[in-house]
C-alpha cells in the first residue's frame, strides 16, 4: 500500500454536509465526537471546510436546492476522498422517498459528476454512533 493511502487511513479529517436531513442524523454525527465515543482516538477530526477534508459525511436526502451545493462541496474536496452516506435518507431516500423536493440519493447525484466516487453507506434512521464508527473503519479498510 502506498504511504499516501496509509497515512490517509491514520488521519481521516471529515467535513459534515447536511443536504436535507431531519437533523437527527446530524445530532448523532456530533455525538461521535463526545467523550463517550471520542473518534479522535482514530485520528478523525471534524474540520470546517471541504478543502481540509478527506471524507464527506453527507446526511439526508438531496433536495433540489442542495444538489448543486453537494456537487460543489465534493469537487472542492481534494482527492483521494471518501463520501459517507449517513442514514437511510442519504443511502436510499428513506421516509422522504415521495417528497416533491427530492432529487435523489447521494450516490446517484455524485456518480453523475464523478463515476469513480468512493461512496460508503451507513444505514439506520438515524444510525447509531457505533454504526458510523464501524462504517468509517470498514470503508477505510476497503480502499
Amino acid at each position: 500500500m502506498s504511504w499516501k493511502l496509509w497515512s490517509l487511513k491514520k488521519s481521516p479529517w471529515v467535513f459534515h454536509v447536511n443536504t436535507g436531513a431531519c437533523n437527527n442524523c446530524d445530532i448523532e454525527v456530533v455525538n461521535c465526537l463526545t467523550p463517550k465515543f471520542d473518534v479522535e482516538r482514530f485520528g478523525i477530526k471534524l474540520v470546517g471546510t471541504p478543502r481540509h477534508a478527506d471524507a464527506l459525511l453527507v446526511t439526508g436526502v438531496v433536495t433540489r436546492q442542495a444538489a448543486p451545493r453537494l456537487i460543489r462541496a465534493y469537487q472542492q474536496t481534494p482527492k483521494p476522498c471518501v463520501v459517507f452516506a449517513i442514514g437511510a435518507c442519504a443511502c436510499n431516500l428513506g421516509i422522504f422517498r415521495k417528497g416533491y423536493h427530492v432529487v435523489g440519493p447521494v450516490d446517484k447525484i455524485l456518480r453523475e459528476v464523478d463515476p469513480n466516487a468512493i461512496i460508503a453507506y451507513v444505514p439506520g434512521c438515524p444510525p447509531k454512533p457505533e454504526a458510523m464508527i464501524s462504517g468509517v473503519i470498514k470503508a477505510l479498510g476497503a480502499i
Binding site: S11, D38, G43, R51, H52
Partner: protein
C-alpha cells in the same frame, strides 16, 4: 565555505528543521492529549500529528481560480522560513552562549511577526470572503498584542540592566537568558501578559477569532489544501516550540542543556509554559476581536505601565524582587 555549511546544518538539521519539527510534533500531540484529558476523552495516538502532516503532503493541492497564485503559494513558505530562523536563533542562543552576538531581542521580535504576516498575505491572496474576514481579524489581532508584548519585553530589559550578572548588551538574547525576571513582581506581571500574547500568536482560544472554525470555517486557512496546508501545519508545529522557548529564554533564565539535571529543569520549564497555554486554551471561550483589542490595550497596557514603574524603582533602590 565552512561557515556556510555550518549555518545550513544549524538551520536544516540541528537545532533547526529536523530537530524542532520532531519536538514540535510531540508537543502538538501533548496539546491534543491534554485537551482530550480535560474533556475526559482518550485522545489521539502519539504519532497523530506526524500522520496528519504526512497525509496532507500526499493529497491533491487545489488552488482557487481567482487566487493570486504566486502569493498564495509563497506565503506558507515565507511563514515557515521565518518560524524556522526564529527557532534556530533561539536554540543557538541557548546552546552556544560563548558566541558574542547572535541576534538580539529586536530581531526575535521581527521574526515572530513574520508568520502572522505570511498568514495575512496568504489568506488575502486566496480570494475567499471568509479568508478576507480572517485576514482582517488577524491584522487586528497583531495590532492588539504587539503593543503588550513590546511593553512586557521592556520590563525584561530593564531587569537585565539592573542585574550585575549581565555582561553583554541587555538587548542580546544570551544576556536576557542569564536573568530570571519571573521571580519579581513586575517580571511576573510581564510574564503573565506575555503568555497571553503568545496564546494570541499561536492562534489558540480565546484569541482564535482569525481561524474560528465554527464561525468563518477556518478563516485564514480556508482555501488551503494538500501540501500547502501541510506547510502551514509545519509552521504551527515549529512555532509551538519557538514561542514557549522564547518565553523560557526571556523570562525564566534560558534553556540550559549543559548537564543532565539542568536539561531536565529546562524541559520542565518548557512543559510548564506549554501546559499553561493548553489550560488557558481549554478553559476559555473565544473572544470577539473588539474584546481582544480592549483586553490588550485597556487592561494589559496599564498593568504593564505600572510594572515598568515598579521595575525602574527596583533598579533605582536595588530591590531585585520589585
Amino acid at each position: 565555505m565552512n561557515d556556510l555549511l555550518n549555518n545550513l546544518f544549524w538551520i536544516l538539521i540541528f537545532p533547526g528543521f529536523v530537530f524542532t519539527v520532531t519536538c514540535g510534533l510531540l508537543a502538538g500531540w501533548v496539546v491534543r492529549k491534554v485537551t482530550a484529558l480535560v474533556h475526559h476523552r482518550i485522545g489521539p495516538p502519539l504519532l497523530q500529528q506526524g500522520y496528519d502532516v504526512m497525509k496532507l503532503l500526499g493529497k491533491e493541492t487545489l488552488i482557487p481560480e481567482a487566487a493570486q497564485k504566486v502569493v498564495f503559494i509563497a506565503a506558507p513558505l515565507a511563514g515557515m522560513s521565518g518560524a524556522l530562523v526564529l527557532a534556530t536563533l533561539l536554540w543557538r542562543n541557548n546552546f552556544a552562549t560563548n558566541i558574542p552576538y547572535l541576534g538580539d531581542v529586536i530581531v526575535a521580535l521581527y521574526l515572530m511577526a513574520i508568520p502572522s504576516l505570511a498568514l495575512i498575505l496568504g489568506s488575502s491572496a486566496s480570494a475567499s470572503p471568509h479568508a478576507a474576514i480572517g485576514a482582517s481579524r488577524e491584522i487586528k489581532l497583531v495590532i492588539s498584542y504587539e503593543l503588550a508584548l513590546v511593553l512586557a519585553l521592556i520590563i525584561v530589559i530593564i531587569k537585565a540592566v539592573g542585574n550585575s550578572k549581565v555582561t553583554g548588551s541587555p538587548l542580546y538574547l544570551s544576556s536576557l537568558a542569564a536573568v530570571t525576571p519571573v521571580f519579581s513582581i513586575s517580571g511576573m506581571l510581564a510574564f503573565l501578559v506575555a503568555i497571553l500574547c503568545v496564546q494570541a500568536k499561536l492562534g489558540y482560544v480565546p484569541f482564535d477569532a482569525a481561524e474560528a472554525e465554527t464561525e468563518i470555517a477556518g478563516g485564514i486557512l480556508i482555501e488551503y489544501s494538500g501540501a500547502l496546508l501541510a506547510i502551514w501545519q509545519l509552521m504551527q508545529t515549529i512555532l509551538l516550540i519557538a514561542f514557549p522557548l522564547f518565553l523560557v529564554t526571556v523570562f525564566m533564565g534560558g534553556f540550559d542543556a549543559g548537564t543532565v539535571s539542568a536539561l531536565l529543569l529546562s524541559i520542565g520549564k518548557y512543559v510548564l509554559v506549554l501546559v499553561l497555554l493548553i489550560l488557558i486554551k481549554n478553559t476559555n471561550p473565544r473572544m470577539r476581536i473588539d474584546q481582544v483589542m480592549k483586553f490588550f490595550w485597556y487592561y494589559c497596557g496599564p498593568v504593564l505601565g505600572f510594572a515598568i514603574v515598579l521595575a525602574m524603582l527596583g533598579n533605582a533602590y536595588g530591590l531585585g524582587w520589585l
